[in-house]
Amino acid sequence: MSWINDIGPLGDVVLSSRIRLARNLADIPFPQAMDKIDRDSVIHGVYRSIAGSDSPIGEEFQFLSMKDLSHVDRQILVEKHLASPDLMKYHERSAILVNWQEECSIMINEEDHIRLQCILPGYQLKRGLDYLDNIDDIIEAQLPYAFDPNLGYLTSCPTNLGTGMRASIMLHLPILATTGQMKAMLQTLAKIGVTVRGLYGEGSEVMGDIYQISNQITLGASEEEIISNLEIVTKQIVQKEKQARQLALAGSRIHLEDEIWRAYGTMLHARCMDFNEFMELLSTLRLGVETGIMTKIDIKTINRLMIMGQPGHLRKYGDKTIGDLDIIRAEVISKLLRSTELEN
């Protein structure tokens, strides 16, 4: 199930669940300190451990060398959240394995030798962890990991020690964001070791009312404990957002409807749209679908719009004779909306 094309548990607020495990191979310097021979041997070793495994998983993955991809194709991997911005930044040394469902990727030579990642639609961290656990075992059977009984899996940065696990939930919180309840909530979350970030994770800012919450601490708690903590927090936030939505609907349904249909109209007819405006309108439209007000499109279309409206995708699939991305964006969005509307 890809998070773009499917809807998962708590799907009216939770876009996706992501698990990432950081691993390094024993006796080889971490990526930033290793030479070319080590780089290539890590890439080959990880590739062989997956492609050559007895498990059927081996056949699910496609191998891509970041160096051999065009800039636009690298960007597309990042926009689909399969690769991290750092993997793109270090493309000279990095590679990636992606499964055909596009829910799991194995990044090689990013900050650590191996970054296993699984993204699923809606709330399903546990399933993501189980999936990665299996891949982790397959790799480990071939390649010994750097591990310390006290510090756990040894990572390039001490903030990933222990489990090496970062679990994140992507949430759409348009009403909480506008009613000013966000700040207090974010401060409370910080106190209990949950960090909040934007769409692209580490260091990115919030756009289109999409918030990413994740565990700050990776050492001292087990994977299951970390996940169950996040589950409690997620369910509370989801409940709060839903209550706020009900209040908003009860208070001024007509104004909310107006806003949503106006967003739809603008998306259909605009000729030029910058990314910021696009993300704001998309948030309104997403709220429309989530609350059942907008019936012309579904969540799948919203997610496809979100992916298609980004620069790499626009450059790859949009009109190549136009230079201005904002013009291409308006055209691509309008076309996509029209085509999905006809399907309904």
């Binding site: 990042v78 656990d133 480990e140 756009m207 601490i217 708690a221």
Partner: protein, 170 residues
């Protein structure tokens, strides 16, 4: 230029951000900028920034000029370089800079100490083997004390065998 948000008042707050190679401009009036608290309050936060701020408050002992600079014998990393980058060069760095890094780990990991999560399967096997060897050694001592030399010799050979295997696999 009018505020992007309320589209009524003139925009007085202008921000340009580059995220993911993408430039976005935000123009808001003062009122909307204040209202949209995430604009100012939610400046990009990263866990690495947190690490950097912890690093900045420690390590006066390692930057003293008269102290020889300790380098990791495997990757050549020194602690000043680590403080700048926030990244180690290899697993051995955690041993070399143990004294400096352990207090920092405790702080960035919320006081936690001691890994309780998943362990590599090899590690489990190794721990079990170590435990078995320890137990056998105790039995060996006991056998020697009781002057049961025949059994002691058997135990000694068995321990050697286990340790040899362990050395090969490790």
């Amino acid at each position: 230029m009018l505020c992007q948000r309320c589209k009524k008042n003139p925009a007085t707050v202008h921000m340009t951000k580059i995220i993911n190679n993408m430039k976005t401009e935000i123009h808001l009036c003062g009122e909307c900028a204040r209202e949209r608290e995430d604009v100012s309050w939610f400046s990009p936060f990263s866990i690495n920034d947190l690490l950097a701020s912890f690093l900045a408050t420690t390590g006066s002992t390692v930057t003293a000029d008269n102290r020889p600079i300790v380098k990791c014998d495997r990757c050549g990393m020194d602690f000043d370089k680590f403080k700048k980058k926030g990244r180690f060069g290899c697993e051995n760095c955690y041993q070399v800079f143990k004294e400096e890094i352990y207090p920092i780990i405790r702080r960035v990991q919320g006081g936690a100490y001691g890994h309780t999560g998943k362990k590599p399967k090899r590690e489990n096997k190794r721990l079990e083997a170590n435990k078995e060897i320890e137990e056998l050694k105790q039995r060996l001592e006991e056998a020697v004390r009781q002057e049961a030399f025949e059994e002691a010799a058997k135990l000694r050979d068995y321990i050697r065998e286990l340790e040899r295997k362990e050395g090969q696999e490790g």
